[in-house]
Assembly symmetry: C2
Homo-oligomer: 288 residues x 2
Amino acid sequence: MSYLRHLEACNRFDPERFLPLLMAGRRVGFVRRDNARLLEAFPRIFNLSGEAVALADTIQGADAATRALGEATDGLIRAGMLEKRRDELFEITDGWGGPLLFELDRAAIPFFGARAYGVHLNGWRPGSDGPDLWIGKRAKDKKIAPGQLDNIVAGGMGEGYGPWETLLKEAAEEADIPEALAIRAHAVGAIRYRMELAEGMRDDVMFVYDLETPADFAPRNTDGEIEDFRLLSARECLRLVRETDDFKFNVNLVLVDFGIRHGLIVPEEPDYLALLEGLHGGLVRGGQ
Amino acid sequence: MSYLRHLEACNRFDPERFLPLLMAGRRVGFVRRDNARLLEAFPRIFNLSGEAVALADTIQGADAATRALGEATDGLIRAGMLEKRRDELFEITDGWGGPLLFELDRAAIPFFGARAYGVHLNGWRPGSDGPDLWIGKRAKDKKIAPGQLDNIVAGGMGEGYGPWETLLKEAAEEADIPEALAIRAHAVGAIRYRMELAEGMRDDVMFVYDLETPADFAPRNTDGEIEDFRLLSARECLRLVRETDDFKFNVNLVLVDFGIRHGLIVPEEPDYLALLEGLHGGLVRGGQ
């Protein structure tokens, strides 16, 4: 068992099985070839070929693209392809820091294979054998990874929220971390992966933060998404990463990154460079 | 001025200008096309074609390859291509953690474009505005980057030394860090780049360590390689990285990595993901 298998699992994506989603000639997503036929129902929105799904040239600007893709999202819900709107819009930009291309309901992100950004927080404190980590157990009714282990805080970046605002919002909602404590978190990096799903794919960037929590602090979930929190040594977390699938798929990557930055996974590990490259886009297929 | 320009400078490498150096069909280095003719003087060691420089099939095993490349190194010194032996052998392996292929005098590493490993240490302590960093000023008689700013400790990984042993050895030699303090350093990652040089190229991996130094500690150079040490705030170091070329070329990368891990460069920076990918091989050309 190895760390690397989680990186490989999160990057299981074969671009041959997808069509690029184009807007004004730029790739803004990926649509599974077998899903693309569902878009034939929207001839005024999409031009389909065997090579690509292109947003019609008549759709100009971010507002028009948002409306058109919203219409398609509702159609895909009616067709039974998507469950329901999440009523949470994600901003789809032309690369990180690039201009807004359109907004898309969170429910439709995997279908269109649009890049999504989120935050993950490592809540830790000094323990008897290196750092201890606050680990959440996801509620059994979660759609994704029910009952699996998770970071103390994680969440997607919705419309109008940057990474830092998302972190503070989710810290309050998911773990009842007071803002006076949450603002002591600091950014430590980001992790990328691209992964095929039944309904499409995830093209995810996780911005990662560390927060050293005081001895008298314990997280408490307030939104029903986490069943309980426990304190585990980081070494024990890394053993679970290596030997089990107890952690949610992408949380394994956050823990490997934590282990590398905190000297728990060392250069003497033969996979060390492969892990670092794999965390930062080295296994991502299908171009930028 | 930007951080990214240093990543681009350290990855200025056009594989078209080089021939792969092959051993039993595997690429183990790169030789500049205009330098390759110098190897015609060793017909029993190298087979040259317009496509590659191949170690002769008659050279079997690491010992024979070490002897043959040592002979070529001496020939290149006689020809005036290389200055002199450094009498420091580097282990050339089949990838990190892979078996030893041969050993090569440090002086010949750039000519043959073999992958070299080294360590860099960030010596820091809490300051009034985030971390302060111990920065060395390189001696004016150094061949590489004379008078430029450097990490508190840095060095190449010679024969028989792993990353950790190299770190402890260099910490003692370069900064007089007592072993009891040096062992409190911890690994935090690695940085890769591939860069063309007048005599060939550098294909470098830097293993990076952080060490929090106590208030009563000050480094002291003992091997003449550093003129003096000074304490600079990490924010001031990053300003120098952005706005000047005061730091040795590859130390800029180590400081960008430090800034990312310590939350001084934040996700809101438009280049954030490009920096992370660029530090971890995303700009490296010419394959593994």
